[in-house]
Symmetry: C2
Amino acid sequence: MKTNALFKRSYNQALDMLAATQVEAALPSEPAMAATLGISRTTVRAVLAALAMRGIITIDGRAKQLLRLPKRNDYIADADLEPLADMVERKFMAWLVGPDCSPGHTINGLDLARQFGVSTSAIRDCLGKFSHFGLLERQSNGRWRTLGLTVDFVAELFDMRELIEFRAVDRFVALPKDDPLWGDLSLLADEHHALLDDFERRNREFSDLDHRFHKLVDSVVPNRFLGNIQGVMSVIFHYHYQWNKKDESARNHRALGEHLAYIEGLRSGDLSQARESCRLHLHTARSTMLASINPG
Amino acid sequence: MKTNALFKRSYNQALDMLAATQVEAALPSEPAMAATLGISRTTVRAVLAALAMRGIITIDGRAKQLLRLPKRNDYIADADLEPLADMVERKFMAWLVGPDCSPGHTINGLDLARQFGVSTSAIRDCLGKFSHFGLLERQSNGRWRTLGLTVDFVAELFDMRELIEFRAVDRFVALPKDDPLWGDLSLLADEHHALLDDFERRNREFSDLDHRFHKLVDSVVPNRFLGNIQGVMSVIFHYHYQWNKKDESARNHRALGEHLAYIEGLRSGDLSQARESCRLHLHTARSTMLASINPG
DNA sequence: AATTTGTTTTTTATATAAAAAGAGCAGTTA
DNA sequence: TAACTGCTCTTTTTATATAAAAAACAAATT
């Protein structure tokens, strides 16, 4: 049956909300809570019922009241709060780059299902997703073969990225000076400087900033296929950098500088300067990725 | 349970083989038949058992003999020989461009399953596939929304195609003169001329030739993400042109001519000529597609 | 009259079950 | 001794069943 991860997440969120409420205060209506939590009223009602059962609130028709502030052990342990598909994806990526899987390996879905503690359906969905990402191949007999996170794969991924981003740069430079994107770019530049100023403490925030910066640049050429490719890239980057913490700080510092040069290139209005600063940055990113995949 | 389309196809193929055999002749071994039909011995045995049951052959250990030649009604009707996934895909594409579906429409998986006469799992797989193709979108509440085969979609599809093929052209022109691809290109040019010479009768063969031509050009820049995009394109083209037979002959004739100019452009070694002939052809393809989607 | 709650109906996500197809082994035959 | 058959075990594919979540509806309250 379906997992109730949504319920558990919402329950904990509701506890957070109650923690900021006065005891004996009246609680908002069900539709209001549903809107706040971004879930359906059905789930809100399930959460409210559970809270009442635990003695945290009382419900009498539309009179809902907070009886006591939530305590630490009222929360549902976050062990199984992750959506199933995310968990499978995470474990699968770990398996894919781990020692149990070499490129060209034939995948045994049943075996993976047992290893991950999920049903074969979940594995099937996951395999389908990654095959669209080009990490797997479906053979004629219906079996799956890994292609692996190889040097070739990364090279092709970056080829595609460069193709797309170079075109975006061309369009970006040509934007009229009153386009709102220039303002967004300025804000991002400020964020870069702020991060540099407090780099020791905040360097881990770079990953998010990087994502937003490239997303902004690419947004001048909206294309849903590009979205797909960016999806692959963020999955790869996400897992990749999770396993390669070595030199993370130095890497981020260098990238920050390159971003600023890239932003200057865009602002200069000079196409060749913009292209060159973009090329430099993407080249560094490619080398970093290749070096950490192939550390030999 | 799993469909036995493979068994049925193999059974009919076996009948074809038997039709070319002498009555009372000894039949090949199971492994031999498995290799010939490209299936496992398990399925061969199921087919042989069915043939024996029908009195077409006798089996006694390894002594297998043809009793009588197969007749027309020995064949399994080809109604359900199509793999399930293909059938669902076909029906889904038809539904997607049909009157029951407008862009932005929320998809009811259960309803589609009933309409198509398949289980919801099959629909789910199909929706997953098309979402990677950018024709559908998954909403936060887990529902699917159609984006539809709109003008925007086609524009983005062709943007991507042009981006990829222009780059391929650059690389193609720079190939050394002894590269085997030049020979392949010559063969394709010959096929184009042969098709033009007998255009009245054979113009329907253009679709296949078109596919092979572009595949050859793009093969100079191997990239698995590109393969994904080409996958979308062939699905779209396949269904699109199936429903738009109008002006097909004239369209194919024009494209043949453009292909030949394109081939000349590549052979000339002159980059700007190659690019221009490519641009012209892709531009025509784009207009044709847009015109037939938006006939108003 | 506009919300809110209580209840019912739909729809989705996942596990389970079962058929189909593949893989492999041991004994047998040519 | 090399290939073949009969059998068993494994893996994949699909349908079905069921819990979770959403949506819709109706009665009640402010």
